[in-house]
Amino acid sequence: MDFAVLLTFVVYLLGMLGIGLFAYLRTKDLSDYVLGGRQLGGAVAALSAGASDMSGWLLLGLPGAMYAAGMNQVWIATGLAIGAYLNWQFVAKRLRHYTEIAQDSITIPDYLENRFGDSSRLLRVISALVILVFFTIYTSSGMVGGAILFEKTFGLDYQVALWVGAVVIVSYTFLGGFLAVSWTDFFQGILMFLALIVVPLVTLRQLGSLDTAVFAAASQDPKMLDVFADMSLLGIVSLMAWGLGYFGQPHILARFMAVKSVAEIPKARLIGISWMVFALFGSMFTGFAGIAYFAKAPLENPETVFMTLTQVLFNPWVAGILLAAILSAIMSTIDSQLLVCSSTIAEDFYKALLRKNAGDKELVFVSRLAVVSIALLAIFFASNPESSVLSLVAYAWAGFGAAFGPVVILSLFWKRMTRNGALAGMVVGALSVIVWKQLSGGLFDVYEILPGFIFCTLACIGISLLGRPPCEEAQSQFELFDRQLKQGMERV
């Protein structure tokens, strides 16, 4: 175990705890704890959305795929960049404004119930259950990634590594809620960005020129330079379809809801998209430069390309900081998902179903209790990395994207949409993803989010049109929202 790397990690983790403590002092009520009192500045919202979106995949999976297979892996990054941009462009402003008009909704289930005036509680309960199940498993899967990183870097026992990582994340999330999560995400996002700029540039400097990298890849296999190599149209569509997932990810949508005003969104969008595109470029180029750098001694595990380059090219102090970027990518996703679960329990189950008149102190207490409970459950699943429960995570991105994405978009743009339409869309979208994933061959090889998204949209529109128009209250709320947004008003 390298002392310099270890010390850098410890300082980094203490920094995260410090932010948690700072946020704790500024957290007064449930809106503060769940949504930071809707006071996020554009830059924090942007980087927080980016960092919580990009998990360890950005520093491990994507460079690894590029290193192993070459340029045809860029399609997924292209799809993600387009999806994220469209989400910021068309959903962010509207969702920020509508959630405030719809009885100051602070979670997605809360918003859906208030948007459609659903007194049956069905929309809230079903969407909250989906969030709870999948984010607990998502969190657990992230913890496995973090523990494996600790295990490999410091030779720590897996179980010890799991608890160390979990205790830090839970501590700052428990203390400071959304503010702590957003601010830690902000710093983690900066760290990830710097690491993804520095590592490929230094690798390139070591190689001498870009040509060296290009020729090394070409000499290994000319196909590595071709983005269309071994790619069918369906394959490209499938990879790009990952971008559709953005419209339904509750932890990313929460950032839109928390921005301090609609006027901040253009700035947040610019920062968020620039961060994402440069980070993706850096990540891909790290893998690509790795082909040349490790040409004579190929890596056994392609996913370690970023990690190995940092250890080979930098002194241990700098390597420690760069390795902390991997931990940042993992932690910033886990903390956001943990908090979404906690807010779902406090707002959508406890307050909505059990204690309507619960005060702020009580709700914040329940939220904190929920953070610990969900984390313990996630640690339990993660303690056995081979657990079959964790395989459910494969459904999560597509599941959220297909079940919530079209529902959220249509609810923000279409007055005629009804509660039953939303319900049908959610069920059809989720089921399509599950069924499509079991099938294979030809069209069924398409990533399941695409059919799920289409079927969900059709179900939302079809069932809405077949039924009676939405209630008077829901329609006038939509008209008010639309009018205010057009007038550029920020507050109700």
Binding site: Q89, F228, P266
Partner: protein, 36 residues
């Protein structure tokens, strides 16, 4: 062997959309910022 330079041109088709979204973000930042 295929020339690396020629095959690199195909990168344009996937990298250009990524740069395009950055450019669009810059443009919309200036246009929407001036909204009343």
């Amino acid at each position: 062997m295929q020339s690396p330079v020629i095959s690199m041109e195909s990168w344009f088709w996937c990298l250009a959309p990524m740069l395009l979204v950055v450019v669009l973000s810059v443009i919309t930042y200036f246009t929407e910022r001036t909204d009343p």
